[in-house]
């Protein structure tokens, strides 16, 4: 190792140390505590208890996050696709200005916003009733699994759209022009030419969103705190009400497993792509 690489390592060391102590350490501790019994030996009791109490919530979390991820993907493809292939300049300008508003709005604010908007007496129901679309008696609160999905999509779709639109913008316009000249309609160009080239970016954005949504506490806590709810709420409950770090950590590892499942799908896709090329 020469002088320059030591200098580099020394410059990066403080940052690495902070991540190691305040991130990787606690993560490892989570894995240890989840398997350690009262006597200090190895045990699966905490997982048994976690499954017994919270298997419904595990399924609920998985379903919510998968549904949200798919919806985010659809919204992102639609908006980014129109931004790339749209031909009406004013619509393009409005859309580009419009879609990114929730981009940096924090989850906790999103939760509060949706808590008022989707409630039975929220603006959504009033507008639907005012527009004659539903009867006042049909008005219902959306503050259940639907509220969580809506909050997640509202907050994360602009982020994925931004990434995907960026990737689509860097595609060689000649490919698109050529296909259009050969008579392909815009939908065909989107799915045949544009999307395959932006696929990697889309996957990265979706995996990042998937993982982020799995560890958001505020949205499920504020929109749907009652059972069945998401694992994050259960983890907070185990700690705040019971001081039960063992089961909490078992639940943490379960949500980590879900997250790695998402990452695994992504890696498999990436590997397949690497094989083909």
């Amino acid at each position: 190792m020469n002088h320059r690489s030591w200098a580099g390592l020394a410059l990066a060391a403080p940052a690495l140390a902070i991540v190691a102590v305040f991130f990787i350490g606690p993560m490892a501790m989570s894995a240890v505590l989840a398997f350690r019994g009262k006597d200090g030996g190895f045990t699966l009791d905490h997982f048994a208890k976690a499954f017994e109490f919270y298997s419904n919530d595990l399924l609920f979390s998985a379903a919510i996050v998968v549904l949200s991820t798919i919806t985010i993907g659809v919204v992102a493809i639609a908006i980014a696709g129109y931004l790339t292939l749209g031909e009406h300049p004013r619509t393009l300008a409005i859309l580009r200005w419009l879609y990114r508003w929730p981009l940096f709005i924090p989850f906790i604010v999103t939760a509060q916003v949706m808590r008022t908007f989707l409630a039975k007496n929220g603006l959504l129901n009033h507008v639907l009733i005012g527009g004659g679309l539903i009867d006042p008696l049909q008005a219902q609160s959306l503050l259940d699994w639907r509220g969580i999905v809506i909050a997640f999509v509202w907050k994360q779709a602009p982020f994925v759209t931004l990434l995907v639109a960026g990737a689509m913008a860097s595609i060689d316009r000649q490919h698109i022009e050529a296909a259009r000249n050969l008579g392909a309609n815009r939908l065909r160009v989107l799915f045949g030419i544009v999307l395959p080239q932006a696929r990697r970016t889309l996957m990265v954005g979706l995996v990042l969103s998937f993982v982020t949504m799995l560890s958001v506490l505020s949205v499920p806590m504020m929109i749907n705190p009652n059972s069945p709810t998401m694992l994050t709420v259960d983890i907070a409950y185990r700690i705040n009400s019971h001081g039960d770090y063992a089961v909490a950590n078992a639940l943490c590892l379960m949500s980590l497993a879900l997250a790695s499942l998402g990452a695994w799908f992504y890696l498999r896709e990436a590997a397949r792509k690497a094989e083909r090329s």
Binding site: L11, A15, F22, I24, P26, V109, Q112, L123, S215, I235
Partner: protein, 276 residues
């Protein structure tokens, strides 16, 4: 296409569809925000009234009362965010420079370590940090919260700083060195000024992340450190929608301002370098 556009009927259909879709999207984005604004200025609003029965600023006065808890939590939040930015950038700028410019052993591993906090769920980390901090008497202290925020924020800062340094043209540095500038002079007069917009962007990112952070503060900050997001959460769960909405509106201001300005700071050439 030109044959189609020449037919007025189809063009009308097109325009109507476009307007309807944009209007629906605008409602989906601004409808929820409008509801928040309504709650912020509502004195009384009971079911089934469509709009608040009475508008007013009583709750704003309460939030901004000189000794109110809201103003105190605003300053707590801003203070914690500033300290987090200082701590994150102090370690992220050298690390970013090393990643962009110096030969590093195990560079891929180092990149992976800096990717980790963004790519795995953070809850296990917060839960266990809170447990350790409790024993170290760091729970409920500003330092504890800053450490948690910085561990997460510095990762973003490293990535953006590294991209900012990578976007600086090496030949400019070489020219300065060839004309006799010392390494330090070259760094302060060439490298740093050119990378500055990217570094400012990373500082803003870290500031916002810290300002908006809820989960870590929820576990580590209790019971003594009440930041704006915690205040908002407590007000909302306690049924005080006015205070919750006003706090949410205050948190919205920097987020939306940054969304509108982000492209000034993060130029395309820096964005293209992120993750390289």
């Amino acid at each position: 296409m030109s044959a189609l556009s020449a037919r007025p009927g189809i063009r009308w259909g097109d325009t109507v569809a476009r307007v309807v879709v944009i209007a629906l999207l605008a409602f989906a984005i601004f409808g929820p925000l409008a509801n928040l604004v309504l709650w912020g200025f509502a004195e009384r609003w009971y079911f089934p009234n469509k709009l608040p029965q009475e508008f007013g600023l009583t709750y704003w006065a309460r939030v901004f009362a000189p000794r109110g808890s809201a103003l105190a939590s605003l300053w707590t939040s801003v203070g914690i965010a500033c300290l987090t930015v200082m701590m994150s950038l102090a370690v992220a700028v050298p690390a970013g420079y090393a990643l962009a410019r110096l030969r590093l052993p195990a560079r891929t591993l180092i990149l992976l370590i800096f990717l980790l906090p963004q790519a795995v769920p953070n809850l296990p980390v917060y839960v266990n940090i809170a447990r350790v901090f409790y024993e170290l008497n760091l729970n409920g202290t500003v330092l504890g919260v800053v450490l948690v925020h910085a561990a997460h924020g510095l990762v973003l800062a490293v990535w953006i700083a590294s991209a900012a340094f990578a976007a600086v043209d090496v030949s400019l540095e070489e020219a300065a060195r060839n004309m006799g500038a010392s390494a330090w002079r070259c760094w302060t007069t060439v490298t740093l000024p050119l990378a500055l917009p990217g570094l400012i962007a990373s500082a803003i990112f870290v500031f916002l992340e810290s300002l908006d952070e809820f989960t870590g503060t929820y576990f580590v900050g209790v019971p003594d450190v009440t930041t704006m997001p915690l205040l908002m959460f407590n007000a909302s769960m306690g049924g005080n929608y006015q205070i919750a909405s006003i706090t949410a509106l205050l948190l919205l201001v920097p987020s939306i301002a940054f969304m509108l300005l982000v492209e000034r700071f993060l130029k395309a050439d820096v964005l293209a370098m992120i993750g390289r």
